[in-house]
């Protein structure tokens, strides 16, 4: 028999897994980018642009940004939950965080789609 008191909508397992999955994606991307920069050593605009105009890197960079913004949401939500006790203020900060991150996602698309 499962003897636990159910409170709230979830236990945070989904976020816990998502935080780690997005971290893995970003860690792999970091290594790929560092290896690429090390190999090419872009010293002018054309070489720098070519790195991100490449289809694979464009895909990976976009994946990195999406992972980053989801990861940031979980991390910042944890910080607000730990230090901001008044519910109203916490809600405002959480909404502001989501708004900023959704906006950044659109911005990232704009940067990458132009290449």
């Amino acid at each position: 028999m499962i003897n636990r008191i159910v409170v709230g909508a979830g236990y945070g397992l989904k976020d816990w897994v998502a935080q780690r999955a997005t971290a893995l994606v970003m860690a792999v991307y970091t290594l790929i980018l560092l290896a690429t920069l090390g190999a090419i050593g872009p010293s002018n605009y054309d070489a720098w642009r070519a790195i991100f105009a490449n289809g694979f890197m464009q895909f990976m960079t976009f994946l990195f940004f999406v992972s980053l913004f989801y990861h940031v949401w979980i991390g910042m939500r944890d910080i607000w939950m730990d230090y901001i006790k008044p519910d109203g203020l916490r809600l405002v900060l959480e909404i502001a965080t989501i708004a900023a991150l959704v906006g950044y996602a659109g911005w990232a698309v704009k940067i990458l789609w132009r290449l």
Binding site: R20, G41, W48, A100, Y104
Partner: protein, 130 residues
């Protein structure tokens, strides 16, 4: 039974500054601080990324901005925060897998995180900023 356990006297120390934060603790709070700082500076970093890719002119302008010594210093600091978050995060992933959870290895791995993140910062910073 539960009440008896709660009433038991436990040692209490409210003089918090007298507790020295061990290295894994410093790593932990730096992991949080670095994440928060990187989040707050995201618009600046995105802007710099956008400028560097938009056109040869904006690329040159972005390069001129980063040629300033103070800007270089800030960027080096940000690279360190990123590398610390990266290395400490990998350590946490290993801890999740129950690798190195005894005290001695946890202390050793936190030393490794600090050493590797500083080394990576110097390598990447040297390549990107010099």
């Amino acid at each position: 039974m539960a009440e008896i356990a709660i009433k038991k006297k436990r040692p209490k120390n409210l003089d918090l500054p007298s507790i020295r934060l061990p290295l894994p603790g410093i790593l932990s709070i730096l992991h949080r601080v670095s994440g928060a700082v990187l989040f707050l500076l995201l618009p600046v970093l995105l802007w710099l990324f956008q400028q560097s890719l938009a056109s040869p002119e904006t690329y040159a302008a972005a390069k001129a901005v980063t040629n300033n010594f103070l800007v270089k210093l800030v960027l080096l600091g940000l690279i360190w925060l990123y590398m610390h978050h990266f290395c400490a995060g990998i350590r946490y992933l290993l801890l999740d897998l129950h690798k190195g959870i005894d005290l001695a290895s946890a202390r050793l791995s936190s030393k490794i995180v600090f050493a590797v993140s500083v080394a990576l910062t110097l390598i990447v910073g040297g390549k990107v900023l010099l």
